[in-house]
């Protein structure tokens, strides 16, 4: 049996291992390091040999002399894997996926039915949890997508846990070629018309214990039809929920005290008065020449001169540093830069995911048996 990094931890990177190269928060690329290979990015090129000599988690510098970039070589997890998938791909995102696993009681050893497979990102997450004792039967009706998922699951060492099938469960039910009994106690339906698939479940779900189901539908009308059919088919405790998840980023916000604003206003006033004084002086000088009376000279010149001095004292360092500029106006200040006061704040990501799908849950008790076994209570 092939080992899978999604099921077991590994410390050292071996040739042809799946490695997730982390470039930025929004850019993670899967790579398979081979001897003398290289990985080229806009942050520079990275030598596979360096990667192969490293442990998972290491920061790797680029080998380009011009680009001093770096990457981190990460151990795959289903969550990091889903982040590495292209954004257009249809993904059950981690907040939904993790809640569904928790709520459907998917545990090591659980038998799960999934339809459709989609990008298989949720399949990975479930495979990690059911482990080698568990089984996932996953169905996909879009052939190309099925091929891709099956290949990927194989390459990721998950073929022994996940049985991928190409087929339309709405038309043909959960028919599969493995020949084994599904006996699933957890069902996840991510289909446009789950109500067509639900009646086919009877034969493939567990005969001995509770089966839990989750239908994943973006539209309210799909939920309404799904609930109707679940009720008709005897499913109990039907509940519909939405999972919403916000991603918060830690930021620093500059503390701008009114006292500093006031000092700045005083500074501006001083400058203006200073300019006015100079102009007045000039006018006076001109008037003196022209022998005119000086009755328009500023009345408050003493104070203004004093202030002017203060301003000049400030100015002595360099012409521009003279301006009182408590918050670095006009400069390029980095968040948290020294010399300023900062407050820790949090901001939500600029583009929020406000909806993924509605999640409809229900359970079905095991069928009644005529001869219930009895446990001796003594």
């Amino acid at each position: 049996q092939q080992t899978s990094h999604f099921l077991e931890f590994s410390t050292v990177i071996k040739e042809n291992d799946l490695v997730l190269a982390w470039l930025t928060r929004d850019n993670t690329k899967p790579i398979r390091p081979i001897k003398d290979g290289a990985f080229h990015t806009r942050f520079g090129s990275f030598q596979h040999n360096t990667i192969l000599a490293s442990k998972y988690g290491t920061q790797i510098g680029s080998s380009s002399s011009t680009q001093a970039g770096f990457i981190h070589v990460l151990h795959p997890t289903p969550e990091l894997w889903s982040l590495s998938l292209p954004h257009r791909t249809q993904i059950v995102y981690t907040p939904d996926a993790s809640y569904i696993v928790q709520r459907l009681r998917i545990r090591p050893g659980t038998h799960v039915i999934e339809a459709g497979t989609g990008s298989a990102s949720f399949t990975h997450a479930m495979a990690r949890t059911v482990g080698v004792r568990g089984r996932i039967w996953t169905f996909e009706f879009h052939e190309q997508r099925f091929q891709l998922a099956a290949k990927e699951l194989e390459e990721h060492g998950l073929a022994s846990v996940v049985k991928a099938t190409h087929g339309d469960v709405c038309k043909n039910g959960f028919t599969h070629s493995c020949g084994d009994t599904l006996d699933a106690s957890a069902v996840f339906l991510d289909l446009p018309a789950p109500w067509e698939a639900i009646p086919h479940l009877t034969t493939v779900i567990s005969k001995s214990k509770i089966t839990r189901i989750c239908c994943f539908s973006p539209c309210m009308e799909q939920v309404q039809r799904t609930i109707e059919i679940l009720q008709k088919n005897g499913w109990l405790d039907i509940e519909m929920v939405e999972v919403s998840c916000k991603r918060w980023e830690a930021h620093k916000e500059m503390v701008r005290k009114p006292e500093d604003a006031i000092e700045r206003l005083r500074d501006i006033k001083r400058r203006r008065m200073d300019g006015l004084n100079k102009r007045n002086a000039r006018v006076d000088a001109e008037r003196a020449t022209l022998n005119l009376s000086a009755d328009n000279a500023d009345t408050d010149s003493a104070t203004d001169t004093d202030r002017g001095k203060f301003k000049k004292a400030n100015k002595s360092e360099s012409p521009s540093s003279a301006e009182f500029n408590p918050w670095g106006k006009g400069k390029r200040i980095h968040e948290g830069e020294e010399g300023y006061e900062w407050k820790n704040v949090s901001k939500v990501e600029a583009e929020l995911k406000t909806h993924t799908s509605y999640l409809t849950f229900a359970y079905l008790p095991p069928p009644m048996r005529v001869h219930e076994e009895t446990i001796n209570c003594d």
């Binding site: 009681r105 004792r133 939920v223 009720q231 998840c245 704040v345």
Partner: protein, 423 residues
């Protein structure tokens, strides 16, 4: 933790029509009391699969209910308790285009033809379902109600008179449900969605070796055990003389398994291993002369010393596969101590009921090159009423769920020029 069949001495969750919950232990030959819904013999349900619904008879024996009914005789959909209906001051229901306005609504007590005494008499002789039927039949204006209003009325009467219950196997989601009603603060206001998210983000699975600081009484540790299948270890760091994970007992794990998997260490031992006093080694001669109880105590101390030595060693050699914190202790110093214990590319998940402490921690981690891309996540589940024609989110819900700080342990390289900026 047999999830199929109810075992003797198991803790189970009893769901009642009133939508209240009880956690009971099914000790054989005992009577289980479920408040005003009566009492039943534990033996009647031991050995049966989880998930059936039972009706309590007057003789305390139970009858299983035909499976497609469940706790309520009517369809099992979620009706919002907080929504006012026709009998309240609300606007009327509408279904199938027919509008039933509350212009004509009359108060319930005046139209119910059964007296309190008659209902009390019924309760002595009839099954819950029959009482509900009688009460509805005796409601003078039931037919004037909208479908929705009928359902709400019926549900209310069912909640009052049905003597049904459903025994459920207890997992961490059920434990949360129970403690959310009972003592939410004790589990740090954890929700199933936050707990599930942490288990996924921290990549908890069979065979891993994890560190946890758990101030939820063992709920978080229990969730990890649920996902580890008896394989791997959990190092439980705690602040007291003895760790508190008492609520794990409700999860029915075999004692052998928890003893084997759970390692414990307090903060003094973690921070100052040198203060741990060595066990004075005794010669075989002295041991032979000892009372067996004292000798047993000695061997336990020696074994514990060896275990601690192993743990100290593992902590220093980046042995661990994940770190989960769910604690009211300040995390900065804890992280500084525990991050080196993680192997490269392993995950950290830190829970807190409030966001502000996590924001401060995130700032510390952003300055610390050993953790990649610290991110704070806030996950919330919103429940809906899905009664046909009356679909809407529940009008109110309980606060809780907290925040999860997620990051990946990485190893900064000395080779990488200092000029490289964080992205």
């Amino acid at each position: 933790m047999n999830e199929d069949i109810i075992q003797p001495n198991y803790y189970v969750l009893i769901r009642l029509p009133s939508l209240t919950l009880r956690v009971v232990q099914l000790i054989p030959h005992t009577t289980i009391h479920v408040g005003k819904f009566g009492a039943f013999y534990a033996d009647d349900i031991i050995g049966k699969p989880f998930g059936y619904t039972y009706e309590i008879r007057d003789d305390k024996h139970v009858d299983v209910i035909y499976s497609s009914e469940g706790l309520f005789a009517s369809s099992d959909v979620n009706i919002d308790k907080t929504e006012e209906d026709d009998e309240g001051d609300d606007e009327s229901a509408q279904d199938d285009g027919k509008i039933n306005t509350n212009e004509t609504t009359i108060d319930d007590t005046s139209v119910q033809k059964l007296s309190m005494k008659e209902i009390e008499d019924l309760k002595k002789t009839e099954k819950g379902e029959r009482i509900v039927e009688q009460v509805i039949k005796s409601h003078g204006a039931f037919d004037k109600k909208s479908i929705y209003s009928k359902a709400k009325y019926t549900r209310r009467k069912q909640q009052k008179f049905l003597r049904r219950f459903t025994p459920c196997s207890i997992g961490t989601s059920e434990l949360i449900e129970h403690f959310a009603l009972k003592d939410y603060h004790r589990i740090l206001e954890m929700t199933p969605e936050s707990l599930g998210l942490m288990m996924s983000l921290a990549n908890v699975h069979p065979g891993g070796n994890y560190i946890v600081v758990d101030d939820t009484g063992g709920l978080v540790t229990g969730a990890m055990l649920e996902r580890m299948d008896g394989e791997g270890t959990i190092l439980l760091i705690h602040e007291n003389e003895h760790p508190n994970f008492e609520i794990i007992k409700y999860l029915n794990f075999p004692e052998e398994m928890t003893n084997r998997m759970l390692k414990v260490m307090n903060l003094l031992q973690l921070y100052y291993p040198e203060e741990e006093e060595a066990v004075k080694k005794l010669s075989d001669e002295i041991l032979t002369g000892m009372k067996s109880s004292r000798r047993g105590q000695y061997y336990r101390r020696v074994a514990r010393e060896a275990e601690l030595t192993t743990i100290f060693d593992q902590l220093q050699n980046s042995f661990y596969d994940g770190l989960i914190l769910a604690t009211s202790l300040e995390t900065q110093s804890l992280l500084d101590k525990l991050i080196p214990a993680l192997a490269g590319s392993r995950q950290l998940a830190i829970y807190h009921a409030a966001k502000e402490p996590l924001v401060d921690t995130a700032h510390d981690l952003m300055a610390d090159l050993r953790v990649l891309a610290p991110t704070i996540l806030e996950t919330r589940v919103r429940k809906y009423q899905v009664f046909p024609g009356r679909t809407h989110p529940l009008m109110t819900s309980k606060a809780g769920g907290g925040f999860v700080l997620w990051g990946t342990r990485v190893v900064p390289s000395d080779d990488v020029r200092a000029g490289g900026k964080r992205r």
